[in-house]
Amino acid sequence: MFFFFRNENEDVKKIVEKVTHLLDKTNLFVADNPVGVNSRVRDVVQRLDIQTSNDNVLILGMWGMGGIGKTTIAKAIYNEIGCNFDGRSFLANVREVWKQTMGQVHLQEQILFDIFKGMTTKIQSIDFGKVILRDRLRHKKSTSCS
């Protein structure tokens, strides 16, 4: 009996996880009339090397002047490739939030909230946050844009 329950328990847990993941279809709004978005998204996605079994963590930097559409393209990429990952997070205006009181902690909390789908974690300090992020993130294949 014990084993039966344990298995059922795990099955239920797996199903809940799967359904929650499937329900995470909240795409970001990109633009009413996207022009030139698809070709740029393709260029970047190609460099992200997702299809091959590249297991390393890869950081890609998008650079360009203000108003050229970096954030727009980043949002479209987030929508496009997010489903290939265990979790995804989009942090907006990092430069500004960073400077606010508790801004860095808020950013840490948001990453956790997004990647662990709605599980709220209260972080007291930036260093404490780092420890939590280190422990939790390493088990998740995730994508984050900022």
Partner: protein, 206 residues
């Protein structure tokens, strides 16, 4: 914030966007992507969606559209707000905007964007825009409407007007947003009235 990229699970991908190349070097990125500028066709199409609500300019405006697009420096943000600003206007008004655009060098984007503020034609809407740029970005739209109505501004109409002009964004959580460059343009309008004496300015922000 995250100590090290090694903390992310295997196969994770991180994308950083920035205006500052130095930041990319400091964060140890593996790949760099320089944003491709819009070509002529793309710029004209984007501009047309905003200025005409269709993918190419109407016949009478084709020539002047080409010039406006060029003087917007093919920058998507400028194409959008200037396009919206010209929507439904007479050719004489177009000419006036084009003349202003011509007189501003392409690297002074903020000044080009300011044309759209000047063209608002309504002091209350201008006031609302400046209030938003200084104090209310990231706040709930309904709360802001209540605050501004308390100051005798017709905020409901004013904010919708600004959203129509692409100067303000309301996201799916009903939060107000604004592009950095537009916000800075708004704040500069206040700063330049009294550059040396902040206490003389109409608004002070943190």
């Amino acid at each position: 914030m995250c100590g090290s990229y090694k903390w992310f699970g295997r196969g994770s991908r991180i994308i950083i966007t920035t205006r500052d190349k130095l930041i990319l070097r400091e964060s140890g990125v593996n790949e760099e992507y320089t944003m491709k500028e819009m070509d002529e066709t793309e710029s004209t199409e984007l501009f047309s969606w905003h200025a005409f609500k269709q993918e190419s300019p109407t016949k009478d405006f084709a020539e002047i559209s080409g010039k406006v697009v060029e003087y917007c420096g093919r920058l998507p943000l400028a194409l959008e707000v200037i396009g919206r600003c010209l929507f439904g206007r007479q050719i004489t008004e177009w000419k006036c905007v084009l003349e202003k655009l011509k007189s501003i060098p392409n690297n002074k984007v903020q000044n080009k964007l300011k044309i759209t503020y000047d063209a608002l034609n309504d002091d209350i809407v201008k006031e609302i825009f400046l209030h938003l740029a200084c104090f209310f970005i990231g706040m709930d739209r309904n709360d802001v409407i209540q605050i501004l109505n308390g100051c005798g501004l017709y905020a409901e109409v004013g904010i919708s007007f600004l959203v129509d002009r692409s100067l303000v964004i309301v996201d799916n959580k009903n939060k107000l947003g604004m592009h950095d460059l537009l916000r800075d343009m708004g704040r500069e309008i206040i700063r330049e009235k009294s550059p040396k004496e902040p206490e003389q300015r109409s608004r002070l922000w943190l």
